[in-house]
Structure formats: structure tokens, C-alpha cells
């Protein structure tokens, strides 16, 4: 009976791993290839943050941290950015979201108003750190650019996060 349980857990883990890997790849492709289609004055939503929030709230802090780091690293590699930037910011997001994780409470959190607070807070902190690192110092209007991407990016990503969770709660997908 014990062996059967372990095998089932292993199978479950493997299926989850495959599921998340496919989701990660799809979101990376979406972010890299299609996000520019919905950009507003250069501001695009960050779908990877959305994925990290989802995994952390669903699977827990440890899995969330590991997956955030790996997803960030993969995205850095695919986007030819400096390796480690997205890994760092996404790990921080997972760490913040991890504080709100409760076992078997995923759907309850999703249905409560807490999800908005979690999403907004984590996205906002992510954008603060990300654009602080990535800001181009040669920009003439440095701070206005910074706040444009910070505020715009946060709101835009938050709208998509809200839509995703809302449609999931309503079981549209």
C-alpha cells in the first residue's frame, strides 16, 4: 500500500512538472512573441508573474520559489536578457506570495478579496525591483520613464491577473 502511495505521488509530481513546464513554455512564447501586440505606449503585461503567483499559491512556498527561479532563468535565457535578472525578481515575488499560502486553501483565497491584495502587492514589488535594475540611466527624463513603466506595468499586469483568476473561478476554462 505504501509503495502504491509513493508511486502515485511520483506520478502526480511528474504530471505536475510536465503541466507546469508546458505552461511555462507557452507563457514565455506568449510574453516574447505576442505581448507587443497588446502593448500600450511600450508597457506590456508580465504573464510570468501571473504564473509564479499561481504556482506559489497552489503548490506552496518551496515549490513556488524553485519554479519562480527556474522560470525566471529560462525567460532570461530566451529573451537574451542579462542572466539572473528575472530569476531574482520572480524569486522575490514567490517569496512574498508564499506568506499568503495555506494548504488546501487555494480556491478559497482565489474566491476572496485577498487575491487582489496578493496580486497587486507582489506585482508592484516585482516592478519596483525589475525597473530599478533595468532602468537606462542615460534616459533624459529618467524618473518619469521609471514611473510610467512601474505604474503602467503594475496596473496592466494586475488587470490580466484579475481576468485570469476571475475567469478560472467562474470556470470559463
Amino acid at each position: 500500500m505504501k509503495d502504491l502511495g509513493v508511486t502515485a505521488t511520483k506520478k502526480n509530481f511528474l504530471s505536475k512538472f510536465i503541466y507546469y513546464s508546458i505552461a511555462t513554455l507557452l507563457i514565455c512564447v506568449l510574453q516574447l512573441s505576442f505581448s507587443f501586440l497588446i502593448s500600450i505606449k511600450g508597457v506590456t503585461p508580465d504573464f510570468i508573474v501571473l504564473l509564479v503567483i499561481w504556482i506559489t499559491l497552489y503548490e506552496g512556498k518551496l515549490v513556488g520559489l524553485s519554479s519562480a527561479f527556474l522560470v525566471g532563468l529560462l525567460y532570461d535565457y530566451l529573451s537574451m536578457n542579462v542572466l539572473g535578472v528575472n530569476a531574482l525578481t520572480k524569486t522575490i515575488v514567490a517569496y512574498i506570495v508564499g506568506f499568503f499560502y495555506k494548504e488546501n486553501e487555494f480556491w478559497n483565497i482565489l474566491k476572496s478579496n485577498k487575491i487582489f491584495l496578493i496580486s497587486f502587492l507582489s506585482i508592484f514589488i516585482h516592478h519596483i525591483i525589475y525597473y530599478l535594475i533595468m532602468i537606462n540611466l542615460t534616459e533624459t527624463n529618467l524618473w518619469s520613464m521609471y514611473f510610467k513603466y512601474l505604474i503602467g506595468g503594475t496596473i496592466y499586469t494586475f488587470i490580466f491577473t484579475f481576468l485570469t483568476f476571475f475567469t478560472r473561478i467562474r470556470k470559463f476554462w
Binding site: F69, G72, V82, V85
Partner: protein, 311 residues
């Protein structure tokens, strides 16, 4: 050990988070940091802050080398100060021995050259200071480089400076090295010459020429120029010595008027002499007939001039 493992397991999420942060930051630092200006600034600022606040133990070897360099510099400076003191004492002793007066420090008035003027082939500069500023005729005018000229006319607010680049201006001068006396005079063709120097006297190219104390107009020891060339022509008693002036007369902007003039009586005599010279040099009017009384008067004038010259 068990407690330690238990501690790590208890806070494993935090340790994992710190581990990932460390790896991420290491990856960023290993990558092309120039692409991410903000991060570079953060790193530099953080390192600077840490070094300022936490690195209390200084770099001993660097301090040692700095200390030895400073000691060496200190020794050199101390030696220079000592040399200067010795020179000052020697100078004082020699002056006392020779019974020479201490060099006078004259008060000066700073003036700006506001224009230039040419009257009868004489070159003048106009300065923005006059009698109201305590200036007088015959005061010496110089700039930071050397002698410029002397005040020829003095108004309330402006003065006319007669430059030494005039053929009629003669500046008694001395060779600083050999002490040979001469007269500096402009030859009218872009050359400043040291005249009245007999061939056998010791004048060399590169010698510095300054105003001598025999001048009635100019303050002594003001640099004029350096000897540029010396020619000795056959059958001539004097050498042809060309001087390269220190002052660039084409760009004089600021000058110093030395507020020192000779005795009023001497100035009066010079003025009188110049006026009489002018009268004598006047051509006789065509209608004027020769009269013995006039001739006698002229004779008296000439005699009086001779007397002044003797004085």
C-alpha cells in the same frame, strides 16, 4: 548538529530564498553588467556604502607607502624652506655690508586699457584711471610681464600712457647679470634696441634687461626684456643689441600703475626742457624777419637749456 539541521529544516524556505537570491545576483554580476545601468549603480553605491561604514581596518600597506611618500615630500619642502631662509639671511647680510637700501614696495593702481591712440607716429594707450584715483604724470605703467610705458597725460578719470614702443622714448636700463648700463629705445621698425653699449662690454644673448635706477621717469628693476641678438659692426663703437620685450604690446588689457614719481622739481625741469625743445624745433615763419633782439633771446634760451642739462 541535529539542532542545526532542525533549524535549517524549520526555515528551509528562507534559506532556499536566500540561496536563489545569491545565485541570481552572482549570475547578474557574471553577465554584462553594463546593459543594466540601474543595477550597476546599485552595486557601486552599495559597495561604497559598505566600505565607508564597515571596513574599519585600513589597508596597512597602502598607508605605509603613502606615509613614506609624504615623508619624502615633507623632507624636500623642509629643505626648500631652509634654503630660502639661508638665502634671506645671506641677502640681508650682504645688503647690510653694502649699505644698500631695502627694495621699496610701491603702491599700485590696477587699470584697464580701454583703447589705443596714435598721435604723430607715437603710440599711446588709454586707461580708465586718472587723477581721481591718485595717478600723476610720469608714473610708471607695467603689467604682469614687464614695463609698458609711463603716463604722459592725466585727466580726472582717464590717462594717456606713452608706450615704450615709441621712437622718442628712452628707458635707462641695466643688464641684470653684468650690470652694464644702456638705453632702451624703439628703432621704429619693430625692434627694441639697447643703445649706448660699447662693444667690449659684457652683454650676452639671453641676459635680462630691467629699468635702472638712473631713470628719472621709470621705477627701477622693472623687467623690460631679454637680449635676443648682439651684433658688432666694423667701424662702429657701439654694439647693436636687440631686445625681445616681455610684454606683448598687441594684447595689453590690464595694467598696474606704480604710484611713485620722482621729485616734483625734477619733473618740472623735464617738462620745461621738453617745452623749450618744442619751441626750438619749430620752423621759422616765412614772414618773420631776422631780428637781433630775437636772436639774443634765442641765445639766452639755449644757454638756460644748457644750464638745466648740467643740473
Amino acid at each position: 548538529m541535529q539542532k542545526f539541521v532542525y533549524f535549517i529544516l524549520k526555515f528551509k524556505e528562507h534559506f532556499v530564498f536566500l540561496g536563489f537570491l545569491f545565485i541570481s545576483l552572482s549570475l547578474i554580476l557574471l553577465g554584462d553588467i553594463n546593459k543594466i545601468g540601474g543595477f550597476r549603480t546599485l552595486v557601486v553605491a552599495s559597495i561604497g556604502w559598505f566600505q565607508k561604514n564597515f571596513f574599519l581596518i585600513p589597508n596597512i600597506s597602502a598607508l605605509k607607502s603613502e606615509n613614506s611618500a609624504l615623508r619624502e615630500l615633507n623632507l624636500n619642502l623642509y629643505q626648500k624652506v631652509m634654503n630660502a631662509r639661508i638665502a634671506e639671511i645671506e641677502n640681508q647680510t650682504l645688503r647690510n655690508l653694502l649699505g644698500l637700501k631695502q627694495r621699496l614696495e610701491y603702491p599700485v593702481e590696477v587699470a584697464s586699457v580701454i583703447g589705443t591712440l596714435s598721435i604723430d607716429l607715437r603710440n599711446f594707450a588709454i586707461i580708465d584711471k586718472g587723477k581721481k584715483n591718485g595717478l600723476k604724470k610720469f608714473m610708471t605703467v607695467r603689467n604682469d610681464a614687464g614695463l609698458v610705458g609711463s603716463i604722459a597725460l592725466c585727466g580726472d578719470n582717464y590717462s594717456l600712457v606713452e608706450l615704450i614702443t615709441n621712437a622718442n622714448v628712452k628707458v635707462p636700463a641695466i643688464d641684470l647679470r653684468s650690470g652694464v648700463l644702456g638705453v632702451v629705445n624703439w628703432d621704429g621698425s619693430n625692434r627694441l634696441l639697447l643703445r649706448d653699449v660699447v662693444k667690449f662690454l659684457d652683454i650676452k644673448v639671453g641676459d635680462t634687461i630691467v629699468t635702472s635706477k638712473h631713470s628719472l621717469k621709470f621705477v627701477p628693476n622693472i623687467p623690460i626684456g631679454i637680449v635676443a641678438s648682439k651684433k658688432e659692426e666694423e667701424g662702429e663703437l657701439f654694439s647693436v643689441i636687440e631686445i625681445k620685450p616681455f610684454v606683448n604690446f598687441s594684447i595689453i588689457e590690464e595694467v598696474f600703475v606704480i604710484k611713485s614719481v620722482n621729485d616734483e622739481e625734477i619733473i618740472k625741469l623735464i617738462t620745461e626742457y621738453e617745452e623749450r625743445l618744442k619751441e626750438l624745433n619749430k620752423p621759422p615763419e616765412k614772414s618773420q624777419k631776422l631780428q637781433p633782439q630775437l636772436l639774443m633771446r634765442e641765445k639766452k634760451k639755449q644757454d638756460s637749456l644748457k644750464n638745466i642739462e648740467k643740473k
